[in-house]
């Protein structure tokens, strides 16, 4: 059988991620915002080389969980996170872990493109500079170029690297933010609704980019667009009322979900 593999078989194998090693392992994660129990006993393995989509209605805990993965919840005054989250086997909530260093390893892209009010070049160069990742200008130039290329933006901006990042179109700004997020060579890229402010073409470009980024990073994307989750991810997690209801292969979730709550949500029966 092995030598009879057709092109089609090979394509089918590309989306199989079940043998990928876990990059992030979360066990018994609970989040409280004051009295509000926002996330309840979440266990999940985020695999390497995989795009994982978090879906669920507003207030279901998906963004809350995403924000646990790079300790963004530390910045929320009354937030309390319990449980264990391991990145490559190391507890990210360990007292010795510097959250700033952690966020260099676990990058984030937000809903609204938020480039720094600086040049395109400086937007990308900022992270490597403050983390001291380069020794000289030539190395920094190299990183800026390669990140802009990975973000599929290089050809559009290579002649105006000194122009302000805020002058780009919305789609370009979002790709600039992705270039900025990958400039510190993160292991995991978190994306919170990265396309909700973009038009369909820019969305398609970002989705294409996400698929390419999967070769180098684990990508976790929170999205309200079920179709986007279906298109870009290999694994999907459905959150509802603070619970992780179902986590599985994306094709299975969208054709044959195991939990009736997942079915109701993805078919448009509960909100």
């Amino acid at each position: 059988m092995e030598d009879q593999k057709t092109m089609k078989d090979i394509h089918l194998e590309e989306r199989v991620v079940s043998d990928h090693a876990p990059r992030i392992t979360a066990r018994g994660v609970n989040v409280h915002y004051g009295e509000n129990h926002a996330l309840k006993d979440v266990d999940v393995d985020i695999l390497s080389g995989t795009v994982t989509a978090f879906i669920g209605p507003s207030g279901c805990g998906k963004s809350t969980f995403l924000r646990c993965l790079n300790r963004m919840n530390d910045t929320v005054a009354n937030a309390r996170v319990t449980g264990q989250i391991l990145l490559d086997g190391e507890d990210i909530y360990d007292k010795r872990v510097d959250p700033v260093q952690l966020r260099a390893k676990v990058g984030m892209v937000f809903q609204k493109p938020n480039p720094f009010p600086k040049s395109i070049y400086d937007n990308v160069a900022y992270g490597p500079k403050i983390h001291g990742l380069t020794r000289n200008k030539a190395e920094l130039d190299g990183i800026v170029e390669s990140c802009l290329r990975k973000a599929a933006l290089w050809n559009e901006v290579k002649d105006r690297l000194t122009a302000p990042g805020t002058g780009l179109s919305g789609g370009q700004q979002q790709r600039l933010c992705i270039a900025r997020a990958i400039a510190t060579s993160p292991e995991v890229l978190l994306m919170d609704e990265p396309c909700s402010a973009l038009d369909p073409i820019a969305t398609a470009q970002v989705e294409e980019l996400i698929d390419e980024l999967r070769a180098s990073f684990s990508v976790v994307i929170v999205t309200h667009s079920m179709q986007q989750a279906a298109r870009v991810s290999q694994k999907t997690a459905f959150f509802h009322l603070g619970h992780l209801v179902e986590y599985g292969e994306t094709g299975q979730i969208f054709t044959n979900p195991r939990d009736p709550r997942t079915e109701s949500y993805i078919t448009g029966r509960i909100g």
Partner: protein, 237 residues
């Protein structure tokens, strides 16, 4: 299953399923009428079956168009997606079954000009009623999302296979007794084989219903009847 938040989606899905049931009704009638036309040598009835196949084909086109529309506009998922996929496959099977009914009607017109082969046409009419029963139950199982009834249809197809084998032996005997029976018996054999194929389509529909309800095709092999001596193995799917 509770209704969709977008009620127009429910209406689209219900409409396409109602069309499948309507198409199923037309096919059942066509098969019963064709078998009766054969048995009673009723040429007018046979002609009406031939003419009626057009309505079945048109319904198939309409359902396919509607399914394409739902896929494009609604992007159905999970149970909704399986409903649309199941509808498309059921409609394909029904269209084939309709063609077999039409073919039966055509052959009945030829056979009505020939010498009667004793007992053959009433046996075929009985087999047709059996197969229509399977088809009806398969479609009822679809409408009611009844995997148990679908499983039952799957198991009952063996009875049809047995009837076909018995007819095959009967025709062989007639042909050996009197070579003048050969032409008629060849036609009758094709008819019996085609009705047997309709049984396979009913089984296919039942399997689709199991997929629709459970999300996976049935795994267990269904009961099979050993072929009578000299019968080439037919397509089984």
């Amino acid at each position: 299953m509770e209704p969709h938040i977008r009620s127009a989606f429910d209406k689209d899905l219900e409409a396409v399923q109602a069309m499948v049931m309507k198409m199923g009704g037309l096919v059942e009638h066509a098969l019963l009428n064709a078998a009766e036309a054969l048995d009673k040598r009723d040429e007018a009835l046979a002609e009406s079956v031939r003419a009626g196949d057009r309505a079945i084909d048109e319904l198939e086109d309409l359902i396919h168009t509607e399914c394409a529309r739902i896929l494009a506009l609604r992007s159905p998922t999970a149970g909704d997606l399986r409903t649309v996929l199941t509808v498309m496959r059921i409609v394909g099977s029904l269209e084939r079954a309709g063609d077999y009914a039409k073919n039966l009607a055509k052959r009945s017109l030829v056979l009505s000009q020939m010498q009667v082969v004793a007992g053959a046409t009433s046996s075929i009419a009985r087999m047709a009623r059996s197969v229509v029963g399977l088809l009806r139950d398969a479609l009822d199982a679809f409408a009611a999302r009844d995997a148990v009834l679908a499983e039952d249809v799957r198991n009952r197809d063996a009875e049809v296979d047995q009837m076909y084998n018995a007819l095959f032996r009967e025709f062989l005997t007639h042909m050996m007794e009197d070579p003048r029976n050969i032409t008629a018996c060849m036609h009758l054999h094709f008819i019996a084989k085609n009705i047997e194929r309709v049984g396979d389509h009913a089984t296919g529909i039942a399997e689709q219903v199991i997929y629709l309800v459970k999300g996976a095709m049935p795994e267990a092999e269904r009961p099979k009847v050993e072929l009578a001596a000299g019968i080439p193995p037919g397509r089984k799917d």
